[in-house]
Amino acid sequence: MAPAALNKTKGSKLQKPPPKKKPKNDIFTEKHLKEDDILDDSGSSDEEVEDQEEFDIDEQGSASGSDILSDGDDTFTDDFLQGNDDEEKVSSSDSGKDSGSDSGSDSDSRSDSDESDIEKKSRALDERKAREEKDAEEEMRLNIAEEHDEFRLPTKEELEDEAHRPPDLPNIQRRIREIVRVLSNFKDLKQEGTRRKDYIEQFKMDLCSYYGYNDFLIGVFVEMFPVNELIELVEAFEKPRPICLRTNTLKTRRRDLADVLLNRGVNLDPLSKWSKVGLVVYDSQVPIGATPEYMAGFYMLQSASSFLPVMALAPQEKERIVDMAAAPGGKTTYIAALMKNSGIIYANEMKVPRLKSLTANLHRMGVTNTIVCNYDGRELTKVLGHNAVDRVLLDAPCSGTGVISKDESVKTFKSFEEIQKCAHLQKQLILAAIDMVDASSKSGGYIVYSTCSMMVAENEAVINYALKMRDVKLVPCGLDFGRPGFIRFREHRFHPSLEKTRRFYPHVNNMDGFFVAKLKKMSNSIPTVAPSEPLESVEQASVPNESNREKKIAEPLKKTGAMKKGGGLINGVSDNRNVESPSPAENRKKRKFPSREEISKVREEKRRALREGKKKTARKSGTKE
């Protein structure tokens, strides 16, 4: 019966653009009537229905004969309606009976409503359209509801799919934005059962694939910045910073230079209100690095961030300055210009190929007060001596995470180990720098430490280490813009004066990522230090150096006899001999150096022994006498 019923329903509905004309009123009324009938005559109703159904089939046949066109329509509309019919059939089993009765009753009235056929057809079409639109709207609403009210994190299967396909960039970007939105209002917008961490994990992965970073770097950035700022930072790294140049005040003034360059067709502006010598170049008709003015040494191409450490250093005339990592010479020439070629600058550069550009730049800019040497920065204290100069500038070699806009390879090649290596080297260099400075210099006694990196391990951690290891303190840099450095970061707790250091970011200051710190050396003594982790790591790596250095400190002390260094020293006069004896013993043991605690214990015991020995001899001599 089912197929027959199907046909019937189709037929009835199709051929009843007419019947539907009496919009559903008829159907309803007939339904009611029928139901009454059914209720009353339960037994006979079935037969009646069956009879009517047979009737219907016959009628369908005749009807189909008369309306060929509608047949054509029927076949099409069959398909359209089939889906609906199925649903409706499932939902309402009465519909078959209803339509049967309808057809039965309507067959009578059909002859009357031939004209209304077309109207009924069109109405049916309209209603169909309306229904479809309604469904579509509901679907749309469903979709939008999903996006706005519930951004779903992609499941594992979806992620795997994505991994197989080539990266779908707009999709990833959309997802990044969505996650930012969700995280900004996490309580309301989060998906059920997910934690903040899941969102951040997905966010990290998306950033890595969209912008091309490796996991380590993005992980570090996520810890340092809130999510909104992180997007701005990463976007800023994609674009290059504007080209800046610095007027060489030894040869010209900024105004004159700007005039000449404007005549040549260079579009420039003064850099900022914090610099009197800087110019920023927007575009230029001639190559800005090859003008006759450049070759005559009137200006130097330099990034804006490189002005900062020299401004913080503030060298005075007739001072002795050391620039420990000088190539290619932008900062050194700036120092010389500020000093007006007086005093003396030691410009040191470790890598031989870079020495040539350093000397060329110095000569080109007309700097005459500089000695260029080629040492490893850590050896400079041996060469120049302790407490020998007034100021030191250490623009330390670093991982370069602040200059990603210049060098995209940093995005992928930096790892945790590399950062640790850089930090280790920087810690050694800063100690060497501090040792070279003379705390009692009349006008100086300052060290400026700067890096073009944003990693906390290379910046605040190194300064904190220096604060522990030497008698120095942080002073304001003299730069009133830029953010203060971190005082605490994850599990690290730094000295509170670290807020005097300054951090610069591309998305805030429109210059490369940079860090500047200015230290003042309070005294020339080296304080005693409890063993701490960074120190031990230094020890393990370079213990031979350490022991040699201790020896060297001990020897000159012995020779001079005078206690130049203050009372804070472990190497007191009485201990000189003790220091000498353990250290060769230590050197004999291969790499099994006892920790500092053990050394101090040993020394205490020896001191006690010595004192007792002295007392005994005194007593003996006393008694003898």
Binding site: N341, G366, T370, N374
Partner: protein, 198 residues
């Protein structure tokens, strides 16, 4: 003009020599990478070259009080030889450069020229600042020939703007337009193109 030009040159040269302090004339024979003062022949060569550009102003170069160095009173300049390059450097700098070992010292003060293997002395472009302040004869160029000179070409008569009065001025007037008026020795473009050879 009436005198033999060469003899006047020599006489002026000797006069100029007298102005130099005697401390510059150490007799040392070895020519290694040591940082040392110039010996007699070397000093001779250097001064001869400088004199040809600066003439009497040579004494300005030598006697210039120097403000470099952390000492309050100005010192003097001197010449030093290091790795076959001659440096014009203040005395106070020289004193402080002694504790830098020879092979680690790259440069001090201003390098003004080099000695070739054959023992000839040539001035390099880094000496320009020094020379320009003291030069006897100057030539002004037209803007168009400025770039051409910077690329290493000789200056043609057509590119001359002004020229100080000197021996060869008369000759220049006789030159036809495309004759070489000034031979090109060196130019500041070498800072860009030939950094390695400086």
């Amino acid at each position: 003009m009436p005198e033999n030009p060469k003899s006047t040159k020599l006489r002026n040269f000797v006069v100029a020599l007298r102005f130099c302090s005697t401390s510059l004339f150490f007799l040392r024979s070895s020519q290694s990478i040591k940082m040392r003062p110039l010996d007699e022949t070397e000093t001779d060569a250097v001064f001869r070259k400088l004199y040809s550009f600066t003439g009497h102003n040579l004494k300005n170069i030598v006697e210039n009080p120097s403000h470099e160095g952390p000492d309050p009173s100005p010192g003097r300049y001197c010449f030093r030889l290091h790795k076959n390059k001659v440096y014009y450097v203040s005395e106070s700098l020289v004193k402080r450069a002694t504790n830098i070992s020879r092979k680690n010292l790259a440069s001090l003060g201003t390098c003004i020229g080099k000695f070739t293997h054959g023992g000839n002395f040539h001035l390099t472009i880094q000496a320009l600042n020094l020379l320009a302040a003291n030069a006897k004869h100057k030539v002004w160029l037209k803007p168009t020939s400025e770039m051409s000179f910077l690329y290493g070409n000789h200056v043609l008569k057509g590119g001359l703007g002004r020229i100080t009065d000197s021996i060869s001025t008369q000759d220049c007037r006789k030159l036809d337009l495309n004759g070489i008026a000034v031979h090109h020795r060196t130019n500041i473009g070498e800072y860009l193109g030939m950094e390695d050879e400086l």
